[in-house]
Subunit: 427 residues, 2 copies
């Protein structure tokens, strides 16, 4: 028998916008608190973004890294999950506005609305250099990558064939590095026996970074190792060069022109419009500035967490836009709400940096835990085990482990599907 | 070391159009024959259509029932796989014409181009009642079914909510029966704990059939059993009623109007335009009429096989449009080509009906092997084992077995993902 929370007591109403790592953690950590929760997301699924690049590179299926949000909260009768799009916040009226005209009253609001990729004022580049934030982004990239090989197989003009076999990744953060390494793996290990007219091992994978090194968030020596490891599997690393043009024909940087039919954008993000909803202060990337207790200045009943927020850690360095940071903030906010309901005061949020991990390709990874650094094959095993551990549920853990086993034991990638269009439509 | 076939000998050129069960079987059975093969498909994947309804009902992921065509033929250097769309056949010039202007010369042509769903002259119904033939069809249906529950959860008007919770399947062949049963399972077992405002167990699933019974291809008593089993899990079976109207509001049949926001078309198919390409005789559904040796009349070098062909078995009954029939025809044609190259004559094609299987839902199935008939739970186990056996590769067999284990042991369906659109786009 399930016990319905008594609606007559009017429990404290918490509305959480966004079911990413931060929003979901807030909901989880409020279990048992005297609140009713409404969790709103315009998607029906929570996404494990750290492995999204593996969907884009045909290594994993979409359902291996995504879960229906309401399934994750099925055991919590006080949580209502809404599949809806937020269009604004009426802070005076304490209401979240939905695009279909409905409104959700709140006593406490948690904004965990994330980021999208951004083009630094060059939105016209998006059709040519798509980014990677959603499942649809990933299946779009997968289609583009696989179609490029298919078209190269049929292309007889050497120059056009070379452009089809040139893959350019813009931005050498973890996503860019992981994409470049996995595309190189795909071209070198998975695809060669399947093609007759092209040698997929001759495909060029070019990683362009405006800064002086790859993986800028990691220690210098790990960056150097990652660059070397990428180059050893054939990735061309271009550093200190900002891209000045993206088009259907390729990319321009530092006066060079590189012909390519597949550009991928991994260079920058822009926060959700949460700052605009509140008419609140934000940085250049649109990230909300928040108080030390993660509330929005002037709105003590509105918390903002995760990638959509700009906050410094104890050393004055910005808290990175990664899953563990969002989860820590979600946990902190849930704790804050509980304490407030008990009339207790709260200490400021303090970010604990656990570490950074990135996979490079060909069974190599780098791990930077500050005092503890690791690179190479053992780092790759730790990377893999850590990611399987953080997946939700035994079923997906087994499934991802099996997919990886097949990739590494048999060079077989199960998700090499071109969907959303036949050969006619996608040309 | 692989031995390249000597190109200087000009081996007999076989072009196969379509990599479904028939086309792929032809290519497989020609292994070792003195031919060069080009296999053309406008998709990059072979699809295991008998389980497509399980993708549409969130039971399986797309990659569990689809394989890259060129991966399946990677060990066959004499086979070239082309991702291309055929626009016609120049029979006099012995060339297959592609939509991008290229042409493929052939000595023998095998047309295995399949069918699409058809609306008997009511193509305007398609947007309201989509059918199920491709992976995109399946993810579209999955989105519609899941979005209907999501919208019902937020709908306050009782009449509109009822329309959202009414699912109408038109056509009670195996696909219609399997869809109806699985949607009922979804509503009754999987979804109830996840929703707060609706009782998904009260969802209506209505199966409408113009003929006098469900599963017309099965024996009478199995049809009666299937109908009873469907009704016992809450499916409303309407027989002897042709649908006269499909719209955004629902469906009309026999003067009745049924309000529903989710209609699914499983009532009819139309053959590919292969008959038009050849200006050849076809039946009402566009299926090519072929000679007893499966060649097209007047074109002894053109074979046509599978669903796109109309041919009678030894008893004068039409050969059904099912995977085993297409595979038998593919095997026959490969054998014919070998014999012709050796100067031997060939006997006419003879269809051997192995049997029919259909899953009903809630661990029940019917099996009709002619002399041997079976129904109920044991039939369901045989159905499941047979389908896993016919999947390609250990990886997909393990994966599907694991997905089914989770569905039946834990009522959890991994693929409950609404993709291609946020809540804003899909409304």
């Amino acid at each position: 028998m399930t016990t319905e929370p008594s609606r007559t007591e009017h429990p404290h109403r918490v509305v959480i916008v966004g079911a990413g790592f931060g929003g979901l953690e807030t909901a989880h950590r409020l279990a048992g608190a005297p609140v009713s929760i409404t969790l709103v997301d315009r998607r029906n699924h929570h996404l494990f973004q750290p492995l999204l690049y593996q969907v884009a590179t045909a290594s994993l299926a979409t359902s291996e890294i995504a879960w229906p949000i309401r399934y994750l909260l099925r055991g919590r009768p006080e949580v209502t999950t809404l599949f809806a799009t937020v269009s604004g916040v009426d802070a005076d009226g304490h209401r979240v506005l939905l695009d279909d005209g409905d409104a959700l009253p709140y006593d406490t609001l948690v904004l965990a609305t994330g980021v999208r990729h951004a083009y630094f004022g060059h939105d016209e580049w998006e059709p040519f250099a798509p980014g990677l934030k959603t499942l649809e982004d990933a299946t779009t990239l997968r289609r583009r990558i696989l179609v490029a090989f298919e078209r190269a197989e049929r292309e007889t003009d050497p120059q056009r064939r070379a452009a089809l076999l040139t893959f350019v990744i813009i931005g050498a953060g973890p996503t860019g590095v992981e994409l470049a390494g996995t595309i190189a793996e795909l071209a070198q290990d998975t695809l060669p026996p399947d093609f007759r007219n092209i040698d997929t091992q001759k495909a060029r994978v070019v990683l362009i970074e405006a800064g002086p090194r790859v993986l800028a968030g990691f220690a210098d020596d790990l960056s150097a190792y990652a660059q070397h490891a990428l180059e050893s599997i054939g990735v061309e690393v271009v550093l200190g060069q900002a891209v000045t043009e993206c088009s259907a024909d390729g990319v321009m940087y530092g006066g060079h022109s590189l012909q390519s039919k597949t550009l991928i954008w991994a260079a920058g993000v822009r926060a959700s419009p949460a700052a605009e909803w509140l008419n609140a202060a934000s940085d250049r990337a649109g990230r909300l500035e928040v108080q030390p207790d993660l509330t929005v200045p002037g709105h003590p009943d509105i918390f903002a967490i995760g990638d959509t927020v700009m906050i410094a850690d104890a050393d004055g360095k910005p808290v990175p836009g990664i899953a563990p940071a969002a989860k820590q903030q979600g946990r902190y906010v849930a704790d804050c709400i509980r304490k407030r309901l008990r009339g207790e005061t709260t200490a400021p949020f303090r970010y604990q940096h656990a570490g950074s991990l990135a996979q490079i390709g060909k069974r190599k990874a780098v791990i930077d835990f500050g005092s503890f650094k690791l690179r190479g094959t053992i780092a790759w095993w730790i990377w893999g085990i850590a990611h399987i551990y953080f997946l939700i549920g035994i079923r997906n853990r087994l499934s991802v482990a099996m997919s990886w086993l097949w990739i590494h034991a048999r060079d077989q990638r199960a998700a090499r599907l071109i969907t959303q269009g036949s050969s006619k439509v996608v040309r």
